[in-house]
Symmetry: C2
Subunit: 439 residues, 2 copies
């Protein structure tokens, strides 16, 4: 099965379970795909063929003895290079950590390994997961950014270099690159998944997240990371059509024409398929969301990097340097006001979600921008990173230029089961192609 | 039983249970005591004789029918005037709230009422529970401060105006006034008891606490506030002598001569009685404890009062005005550094507590100061407010001037059972008089 790299997590898992595919054959297919595409896409900082093969061979032996650890037994998972991997270099996308080798795995990495995942290597991240771009390119058009900060993970999943990958989101670093790359990206509820061993950017806003090519695969990943089953909560074909609260206002005003056009078209198709889509009014406090997010973000990043920044300022690239410098000027009273605003905003969004299953917005302000200089605008995602509510993106179509756009769904805290169900329903209606580089 | 006001909570509870005392007779005795002493002590902002009598009469009927709600059934509890009491004025010690009547009870007040406590009124607090003094005087010597910020609660319990009272501690506002007034003061683990409906001063440091005349009573109060039983965890006479870690260094250097002398003498008596007292080394980070505490305190107070302060600056007294003004100048990076230091310090103190049951220090830097201008120095208490570990003070003796001094014991988070046990053991060895105003 040479093109096993094309399989989704669920498909590969089923075949491994049936003895028709082995972890090592799946890994070899993935490594072949990486060899073929990596020179163009540049999604990986570090590959660990040796470690991955050893682990895939052990998992193959276990599978042959009928011993399957979980649904991710033998599944390759790319790991963003801010997640600590014991014995495997972890650079944070920074020259300061260019040779840093952690002695332990991040808790998420430990859980995935324990569940049988195979880690082919570490994926490219913007510097410290902020905005200074990685070298990664968008598989749909190599002249365009894949988005950031989880650039390598999004591009690797989109191009078949691995069926799933870990990312992280502080502003829009999972949802935006997923949308730019035409894959599913999910950011579960704040603190649902451990951030231990993930280099922090802004601890009040940092979320663990992941990329897959289908919503079903996102449910499997979430299950592996939480030890719970989400797949069972997702009825497929016969499931109830979701009630969605469409947010206009700020989103409609700010969205690129192609993005908003795509959303309107998607809404029409969802309604035709039976979805109940109402317009939800943005809470009054929405106008303060982005400033509050920015104040918390800058203050905490500045606090984290303060000492290193004093000693090695020239080793920080311009955007994060600006963030730290501005964060050092924030008064504590402004930070604390923003922190208290966070709670207020969460209560108001919670109230919006009483009448609908999910809120619906475009996943990004624009399609993937041309050039690698900017990873794009996070302002459609940051509100949900601020309040910590779970969000997911599902690809909804292609622009006239052939770039993906996506829907973003947001649910109540710990409402991941319903969120995945609604996302799967939308995914079926949208019927998006899965393989950008193999049309 | 005219002098029922002299009874401890445990004694009164037992007599009420045996039908030999009723809640209304206990209340009348307490109100008589208040009438007698309040003009000199000034412990109460607002008395609610009518509400208290109605509640004591209802509880008396219940008791007569054999229906006892808990160990605090019918027990008068003074409530510091920053705890919201529905329908009963709550001033925060500030002219801004001079006529403020909350519509609901603080969660702690609700729990106490539900458990059968009777609330005779609201006790004096320094302005917003900071350092601008209340009019309250020390029952041991009316020319001296009772300490703050829970001035009225400490003085009321010490002088028999109620057997127990609620206080709060952000720096040393329970332990210090308890020590100054020769009563037991306890501050349980941070967040063990709800702060809902308590006007915040600095939410990362604010603790609910209470005053009683014995450690047994503290266990009863803690039980009423948590719904758990602590009394059972306290063996009395035959209990194992505690292992105590005496902290010198900073404490010895800073302590007033009479305080340190009293401590050394107390240690000798504890050792003679069989306690195992070792010297515990202060962690390296101890030098940063007070600055970190101050930075968090000032920043959060400034954040809470920012809007009100802008509008009504002249209605804030000088000390809290200075705290807010200085808090508004703190950079967020300093605040966040202090917040992260808090975690580090807690880990280091936790390590110290591996080898002993409790840490032991004097409860205050000085005995109660002469004059009402200053409520005293919190620096022996603030470290434990910073790390959030439970602490308690037990009176240990009188200075040559006849002012009380106390021991402070500190235990591991959620180690309240052991802390109370050790404190009860020390209390028995110390044998302190209970009635300052009735020698």
């Amino acid at each position: 099965m040479e093109d096993a790299y094309r399989l989704t997590v669920a498909e590969a898992s089923r075949l491994i379970g049936e003895g028709r595919l082995t972890p090592i054959r799946l890994l070899e297919s993935v490594l072949g795909r990486i060899e073929e595409l990596e020179p163009r896409v540049e999604a990986w900082v570090t590959l660990d063929e040796e470690g991955a093969r050893a682990s895939a061979e052990a998992l193959t032996r276990e599978a042959e003895e009928g011993d399957l650890r979980s649904l991710v037994h033998g599944i390759p998972v790319g790991v963003k290079d801010i997640y600590f991997t014991g014995g495997l270099r972890t650079t944070m996308g920074s020259p300061i950590y260019a040779d840093y080798v952690p002695t332990f795995d991040a808790e998420t990495v430990r859980l995935l390994r324990e569940a049988g995942a195979v880690i082919p290597g570490k994926t490219e991240t913007t510097e410290f997961a902020y905005a200074d771009p990685a070298p990664t390119r968008n598989p749909w058009n190599l002249e365009h950014t894949p988005g950031g900060s989880s650039s390598g993970s999004a591009a690797a999943v989109a191009s078949g270099m691995c069926p799933s990958a870990l990312g992280s989101q502080t502003g829009g670093s999972v949802i935006r690159p997923a949308a730019f790359c035409g894959v599913v990206g999910m950011k579960p509820t704040y603190d649902l998944i451990s951030r231990e061993g993930v280099y922090p950017l802004s601890w009040s806003l940092d979320h663990v997240g992941f990329f897959t090519r289908t919503v079903e695969d996102a449910a499997i990943m979430l299950g592996a990371l939480t030890g719970r089953t989400f797949a069972g909560e997702i009825p497929s074909h016969e499931m109830r059509a979701p009630r969605l609260g469409l947010l206009r206002g700020f989103f409609q005003e700010r969205a690129h024409e192609a993005v908003w056009g795509g959303l309107e078209e998607a809404v029409e198709r969802l309604r035709d398929a039976g979805a109940y889509v109402v317009e939800a009014a943005l809470p009054d406090s929405f106008g303060l969301v982005l400033p509050a997010h920015r104040v918390i973000f800058a203050s905490e990043t500045a606090s984290i990097h303060q000492d290193l920044f004093g000693a090695r300022r020239e080793d920080f690239r311009p955007l994060i340097r600006g963030l730290i410098a501005s964060g050092l000027l924030v008064p504590a009273s402004a930070y604390l006001k923003a922190r208290r605003f966070k709670g207020k905003f969460a209560r108001e969004v919670g109230a919006l979600l009483r009448d609908v299953d999910c809120l619906l917005t475009p996943a990004s302000v624009t399609p993937a921008l041309r050039g690698l200089e900017s990873t794009g605008d996070a302002s459609f995602n940051s509100p949900w990173s601020l309040c910590g509510f779970p969000s997911i993106t599902v690809p909804s179509g292609l622009t006239a230029e052939g770039l993906p756009v996506g829907l973003q769904l947001v649910a109540s805290p710990y409402g991941e089961g319903g969120l995945l169900g609604a996302a799967m329903w939308c995914e079926e209606v949208m019927g998006f192609p899965k393989d950008p580089m193999d049309p």
